[in-house]
Amino acid sequence: MEEINIFVKSIFIDNMVFAYFLGMCSYLAVSKTVKTSVGLGAAVIFVLIITVPVDYLLDTYILSEGALKWIDPEYANVDLSFLSFIMFIAIIASMVQLVEMIVEKFSPSLYASLGIFLPLIAVNCAILGGSLFMQQREFTSIGQATAFGLGSGIGWFLAIVAIAAIREKIRYSNVPPALRGLGITFIITGLMAIAFMTFMGIKI
């Protein structure tokens, strides 16, 4: 049950974009049309659902304090958590590379539709943010970590597809010149964030 709670919470309440502003750069840059934003959103879900559980295992069995006990009890005092940034980003960069190669080999059509977005994901803060939040919230099982990764990915997907749809329409509106483009996107995102705040407090 805890998994479902984490899953729903990470989509709506702790939404990556609206509550923590993660992945804003690509969110603003790639949200001009719905089609490309669906591609990027799918790629983010894909990568998050792999990297968060892998980083969870890495954190639990190697990096956190006393995690090395399973090798030998004398390592119980070893604390490698200061290495977590560099390990997480290495895992993410190599996972993205791996995912890219696998997708290219087995599904060329999906590879063609994701295009340049896959390699860009390595530096999307939503991915690293997912792993860092996972570490900070101290999930107790890999199931919870996976639910969190999937939920965060879907939340990010929702956000970017919604803003892309709005931006496609707003092209026909008369926006004050100085607000055109970036400014109005910020304001719409703010309004959407207020809308998402109504989900606050939901518990399953």
């Binding site: 502003f21 750069c25 603003l28 803060c125 943010g129 010149p177 100085a178 607000l179 055109r180």
Partner: protein, 217 residues
């Protein structure tokens, strides 16, 4: 030897000064280049974390720019992203450890956002756009300039959010009690995440109305 002086320009030549001042207004990383938004919005509820964050980003950016600029001729271009990430991650670990040691409270407030400096697009963006093709000294100036450009937006947003959201300035109450007696209340909405977006939008609006060149078509 006199041929040497031809290519050596003074440390603070007009061109180098431009590197320092351009990112503050025309080329501002947040409002014009649209880089590094994520962390900019999340840490601006109070002034103190915003200032600490700006300084951290500036240090990582300036030091990283110099390191990448020194290494630029020996990095194979196929693996440059990984090399850049390793340099950034190492610097961020240093910053994180220093913050944990000397400013533990602030580092708790910043939580994951110190770690997220690694994927802050300003840093990668400046490495790619500037440090890979320039000498260390201009790269240092460019790093400091972009750090300041990023910092002033953060501090401006944080100033308004702290003033209107909690009625304080650096944690000191500045709105007198008599104003509260007249029925003034702190605006709770300003503390919530959406307001950061509106504040940045307002800065963009003001900046672009004053400088028509920045307006998007």
């Amino acid at each position: 030897m006199s041929t040497d002086t031809k290519e050596r320009e003074p440390l603070f030549s007009p061109k180098n000064i431009k590197l320092l001042t351009n990112p503050i207004h025309k080329d501002n990383p947040i409002t014009a280049q649209v880089l590094g938004i994520c962390s900019a919005l999340a840490v601006t509820v109070k002034l103190e974390p915003a200032i600490v964050m700006s300084i951290s980003v500036m240090v990582v950016l300036a030091a990283g720019n110099v390191i990448i600029s020194l290494l630029r001729n020996s990095i194979p271009s196929r693996i440059r992203i990984i090399v850049q990430l390793v340099v950034i991650a190492a610097l961020v670990i240093l910053v994180d450890q220093v913050l944990k040691a000397f400013a533990y409270e602030v580092s708790k407030q910043l939580s994951v956002f110190v770690g997220l400096i690694i994927t802050n697009c300003i840093i990668m963006g400046r490495f790619e756009a500037f440090a890979m093709g320039n000498k260390p000294w201009p790269a240092l100036l460019d790093g400091i300039g972009n750090g300041i450009g990023y910092g002033w937006v953060l501090v401006a947003v944080a100033f308004f959010r702290e003033l209107f959201g909690s009625g304080t300035f650096f944690g000191m109450t500045v709105i007198p009690k008599s104003v509260f007696d007249f029925g003034y209340v702190n605006n709770g909405l300003v503390i919530l995440p959406p307001m950061a977006l509106f504040a940045v939008a307002a800065i963009i609006w003001i900046q672009r109305s004053r400088d028509k060149e920045l307006i998007e078509a």
